[in-house]
Symmetry: C3
């Protein structure tokens, strides 16, 4: 103590939430607090064997959509990628350089591909693709574990949609079904039904044997389901609020992020025009609780009350939706002071 | 740091939330961080004298129920008991043994008895009995402090129901009323009115001079009030999300629990059948915030929005209610990663 | 470890949340953990220069209220003041003296003044004045940075109301507008519109270059907007839940506060009479999450569900409103055990 600078890793950990990450991996509990324990966690995950009930002899019986619905197909591959947390190198809110420059680390992300896993649609990024559907549709997600370095099973587990246990995408020890253990190089097709109670914005994420570590690394994305025929807003944004701590990144300090990026200038810049119908979904994806605030804007919560800064927890969604009427450059941020000061902020520009 | 194992108590405390427990006991502040300070806290609690206004000369004037209602009587005794946090010895989610076997500790629990404190109705367990009533009823709770070892006053403080200050069940220094200080061996009868705004599921818990420590030890239970004549669901479950930290248990590490148990295989196994009306109440009972997620299921929040993982705080309730339509074995868990990986998970089996 | 007393600062910090405060100040990140780093943070803030776009050449174009509305003017000055956290010296809940006596520290507060900054309306206190308005009004806030000691810019940033970027009151680096950088001795007039979606209770707070530290010091207040012509309740209270940690106060330990005060006997005593329409707004103002509980009372959440202990986050409001029907002396408190035991509790007395 005593010094106010970032002189010691320990002091920063305490203040910015970069403490050790606790993971239970195939029943082995590992406290990740540095590169050695990170390797140990991955080694433990690589040792987890395929559960008996999780054989991949998948005879896909196509689940039919409800009348008027469609089978909407996605091709998604999980793989590691070097990503930068602060590619803008500056904290534009406070007008200063971010120490560490781009702050790259090895992320683990879902990447959307063209049919048959032919080509990448986009560059590697966090989060994975937004899966969109209407009530009555079936989301058909062809998933491939494309990673060769970490040698461990991963999955896709969705919130909000309906699925039978085969498509839960969760490792559950001896109770695991096929979709809950996709080893490196393997593929699996999930079928998720969009029922009337699926309307909303939801996360999906890894739920394999090393899910906490791999979710912290970036294996998450969003699902947005609307009523059949509902108007799509003019702008739809999804912002995942999460931390990238030193145990996961190997970097000197923790970053409080939106979508894998920290600090205005690197986090997503939201844009809209006056008169547009704007929708922003904020979703928690770490072990912290957050709030979501957009300067200059208010909206209704599901009960109809006016809010501008609601609380949300891990894998919970809050949605801001409004007709834009206030031009300018605005900050959006989590209002937990220790989060906003460690990067959880960005720009929203209304032209 | 450096090691990824559970080799040191310190490292685990940091990761699993097992830090010291701060208690204010009769104005004495004790930071409980081990057996010695635990004894010190109990000794401080034993020194708290009966406040002047808390004489037990209780002339019970029966509070009459509203027309159509009844006086519903319970007999409940508080006592210590050796309970196991992981009686199943295995983490079935991750298919591994839990270190420490059954992990027993000295809990403090409410036990339901037959009229006149004649016999125990059930074995000692956490939480205490679910008190149920309809609007218009008066809950009449005959309470006895049956513990002889800890030599300190305890109480029952309810949420959700209406009561006059005598039946608040809270120690308040010189402002304490009779129901706020029930010494070892003493009895007191609480009368709690179920008014129209009592509809819902609520916690009750100790609010005596050592309430934080004793609530952490297990002195809590639930109250469920329904509109008069309302249909009772086919299944009603109450899950208290709370931590059992080393200062309280004397064990090597913290456990993140549902109902005093940690890890699927030891936590309550919820069961139902397709077509049944199922209701699950999740209630916070520690200093953390939690979310409650059931795989494969969604429900409406009070505003009518669809959710599957709402946030809740200490002594706050969130309720999942749905007609079961999805057979299989499902995980339920808190979605705070550091909680679910330290035991806060269980099975829900739909036949 | 080992000792259960408050013998070491470290142990108490861990238990009562008094850890270091992370601040980003003009892009400089300072971890405040003692007097030296506190001075360093203030020095960093004093070095932040006026951004180019934040020239104070303010030609006020009065924003006109909606038909039926008014321009409601306030005069508010920010200044430091020595305030006591525990002026009552006793924890009346637990009937014991609070160590440290009055526990004074240097706060930073908003003070309401008469027109033209002629005179103080009240003594220095935390929070700043409650600004009240109806839909259609324009809140016209003449603000002066009246502090001479800390030599840094501060602002007023409101929630809930509508404003153009000039009146956002936020430092944003090179994107800062005039209202986002009010240097010592300078004044600025904010104009905030109360639109239909402004109905509710909201915080305002500093959002200048050193906003985290200065907000923790006490630069916050409330705004309450009602529908035009709506009945004002008989009693309206605003309670800010926040921590005053050692890095900010220089005191031995952290205090968990309502309105800058800790422990029943020093925190605000709420009063009402049976039959009155009572409204209590609880607003978070630190980096923690809280719940708000009043013994003996229940109320409706915005969705119409009955509650008595809702969760709220930093700069989020929850409102209890009820017709008083239960005479007596009641505790109100945050139900996070580690908060209520460190001071976040008070009395509500119904005559």
């Amino acid at each position: 103590m005593g010094s106010g600078s970032l002189s010691t890793r320990r002091s920063f950990f305490g203040a910015a939430g970069g403490a050790a990450l606790l993971c239970t991996i195939g029943g082995e509990t590992v406290t990740i607090d540095g590169p050695r324990s990170l390797r140990k966690a991955d080694a433990a995950a690589a040792r987890v064997g395929r559960p008996r009930g999780a054989a991949l002899s998948q005879a896909i019986l196509p689940i039919q959509p409800a009348p008027g619905g469609v089978r909407k197909e996605y091709w998604i591959q999980a793989e590691t990628a070097r990503l930068a947390i602060t590619p803008g190198r500056r904290d534009e809110w406070h007008d200063k350089a971010v120490p560490g420059g781009r702050n790259e680390f090895t992320a683990y992300v879902y990447r959307e591909m063209t049919p048959g896993f032919a080509e990448y649609r986009f560059g590697a990024a966090m989060p994975g693709p937004m899966l969109t559907a209407e009530v009555g549709d079936v989301l058909v997600v062809h998933f491939r574990n494309g990673d060769t370095k970490l040698r461990q099973a991963v999955t896709m587990h969705p919130h909000g949609v309906k699925y039978n246990p085969e498509y839960d995408g969760s490792y559950m020890g001896e109770f695991t079904r096929a979709g809950g253990f996709i080893a490196p190089g393997e593929s699996f097709t999930y079928q998720w039904e969009c029922t009337p109670d699926s309307v909303g914005a939801w996360p999906y994420h890894d739920h394999g044997p090393n899910h906490t570590l791999n979710t912290f690394r970036g294996l998450f994305g969003s699902i947005v389901v609307r009523p059949r025929g509902a108007k799509w807003p003019d702008r739809v944004y999804t912002l995942f609020a999460h931390t990238l701590p030193p145990p996961v990144t190997g970097l000197e300090r923790a970053f409080q992020c939106f979508n894998g990026r920290a600090y205005a200038g690197s986090t997503p810049m939201l844009v809209s025009r006056v008169g547009e119908d704007v929708e922003v979904h904020a979703i928690g994806m770490d072990s912290n609780f957050h709030t979501f605030h957009i300067h200059g804007h208010r909206w209704r919560d599901p009960a109809g009350a006016f809010i501008d800064n609601p609380t949300f927890g891990p894998n919970e969604t809050v949605t801001a939706r409004f007709v834009e009427d206030n031009p300018g450059r605005w900050l959006y941020h989590c209002h937990v002071f220790s989060h906003q000061d460690a990067g959880m902020a960005g720009w929203y520009v209304v032209e």
